[in-house]
Symmetry: C2
């Protein structure tokens, strides 16, 4: 296909490298990129199971073994226009034995990735952060060690931005949800409780959540990559990616019951709140320019709760 055959106004196909492509948001993003005609590469750990689908079969995979050299080789081979860094280890409340894994997954791997980008002169990075870097407001104030590791890797990224010509947008995500979520998170547990009739033990349920549908998150990553490819300034920026609708856990369960037309058995208060539970998200920040969520909570939940609704 020569360039003369290109449709006027249609951007040329781009190439992307996705980390965390075996995870929830990462796999949705990788599939979307494939559908949109991108050439998609993924850096994966040897131990990761790669999700099977027609789209995922078209993703080029590079194994990394934990050392910087393997990441350098992968990025040099892929030479993408944009890197989407979504790989991370999420642990809400860590134990002592998790410290090494959190640092290795969330800081060491990110540092290796940036070094590899610098070496290969790959300039554009969209990085996934978390709203939990901001427990009580706009300053750094981590909810948990996971959020602290996300902030720490940002410090490393900023060195590469200053010194090596890399440009980065960090998207700080609120609570993501959507189909094909293999994480053991609330919605899966609610569906299971509704099916089995086995009561689900939850906290008193007054905490307010900011849920964002995965397709909206994927769209935010694409918008951010477009900004970087268009040469946006400054070279480092971050934005909040919020669903825009906040509901308490109790309200969420009610809404799920309505959508499913079924009762969900819950033992409210059978669990305590976490020691540092975010009762009301106190952080509001600039959203990504040119992006806003398209899915209302009801629409998004319907996609998850009603098979065939998509």
């Amino acid at each position: 296909m020569g360039t003369k055959g290109a449709v006027v106004g249609e951007p040329p196909p781009r190439s992307a490298l996705v980390t965390g492509a075996t995870g929830f948001v990462g796999s949705h993003l990788a599939k979307r990129l494939v559908r949109d005609g991108w050439s998609v590469h993924a850096v994966v750990r040897a131990a990761c199971e790669f999700p099977e689908s027609d789209e995922m079969a078209r993703v080029h995979r590079y194994l990394c073994d934990g050392r910087v050299e393997s990441v350098i080789d992968a990025v040099a081979a892929a030479k993408p226009d944009v890197v989407f860094h979504l790989a991370s280890l999420f642990i809400a409340q860590h134990q002592a034995a998790d410290v090494d894994r959190l640092v290795e997954s969330n800081i060491l791997f990110g540092s290796q990735l940036l070094e590899a980008m610098a070496q290969a002169r790959v300039a554009c990075l969209v990085n996934a952060g978390t709203s939990w870097q901001h427990f009580h407001g706009p300053d750094y104030d981590p909810v948990n060690l996971y959020a602290a590791t996300k902030q720490a890797v940002t410090d490393i990224i900023r060195y590469y931005v200053d010194a090596c010509g890399i440009r980065c947008i960090t998207l700080k995500l609120f609570d993501t949800y959507g189909p094909d979520d293999r994480r053991r998170k609330l919605l899966s547990l609610l569906i299971q409780a509704a099916r089995t009739g086995e009561p689900l033990a939850l906290s008193p349920g007054e905490q307010v959540m900011d849920l964002i549908f995965v397709e909206d998150v994927v769209e935010a990553f694409l918008v951010a990559s477009g900004m970087l490819l268009d040469g946006c300034e400054p070279a480092y920026q971050d934005f909040a990616v919020s669903g825009g609708q906040r509901v308490s856990l109790r309200e969420l369960v009610k809404l799920c019951e309505e959508i499913m037309g079924a009762r969900i058995p819950v033992n409210w208060g059978a669990r305590a709140y976490r020691p540092r539970e975010v009762m009301v998200p106190e952080w509001f920040a600039d959203g990504l320019p040119g992006w806003r969520p398209r899915y209302s909570l009801r629409e998004g939940l319907s996609r998850v709760l009603l098979p065939g609704a998509a």
Copy 2:
């Protein structure tokens, strides 16, 4: 020795755990603490050579093997009043192969130390940072990857401060010097050049340095520990530790020649400046309350350059 025998006004002996006790500032600090009557503990890597001296022989040593468990065991056994965290890997200009080591030494080990402090309910931490976290001013702006790892571990520390009741003062050090410096740094090279007559290849030499004598640095660590033990607020603070006298590299060499009464053969300009050379330190910040350097540059250099001057 019963408490009745204690001298009025003399504080009781304290116990300290020092990381980096085999390094330059760390070994000076450990020896000073021993001389001042502290019970001194050191966490060391199996591979480290422990400096020999009467004072160092009185330091309790705990081996750590790179995993969090060994650090937890060490801190639990030492149960110090204060932890002085000086261990770090310094690399001015890193190569790709250094990335893993920098993250492991400067972020992973620090994270393990904080987890160990939280577990053992050890609350007071004096942490060594670097002026190079501030290339062009008060905001975070790292000179090199080393400085970025120092900033990153601070974000981890701040989680433990917020969530686990730890209290920390970070001292951001300018360029330290003093006797018994086994690092291959400028002064050692100047002494060697004066002795051998072999010309030393240096940059053009216009960069301005802020040198601080090691005994002044040690005093700053002690003052910071006193503030923490006295319950200073807020729970996280940082301060600059500057020698207060800035000289160009050329002026420094001249001063050394004067003190030694000998010519130091230098090939000025035989090396290029580093890509991100700090030509003039642009960062000025609050110094530690109640502390200021006691050694003029001339006095400090005399201690290094004139054997027997101490």
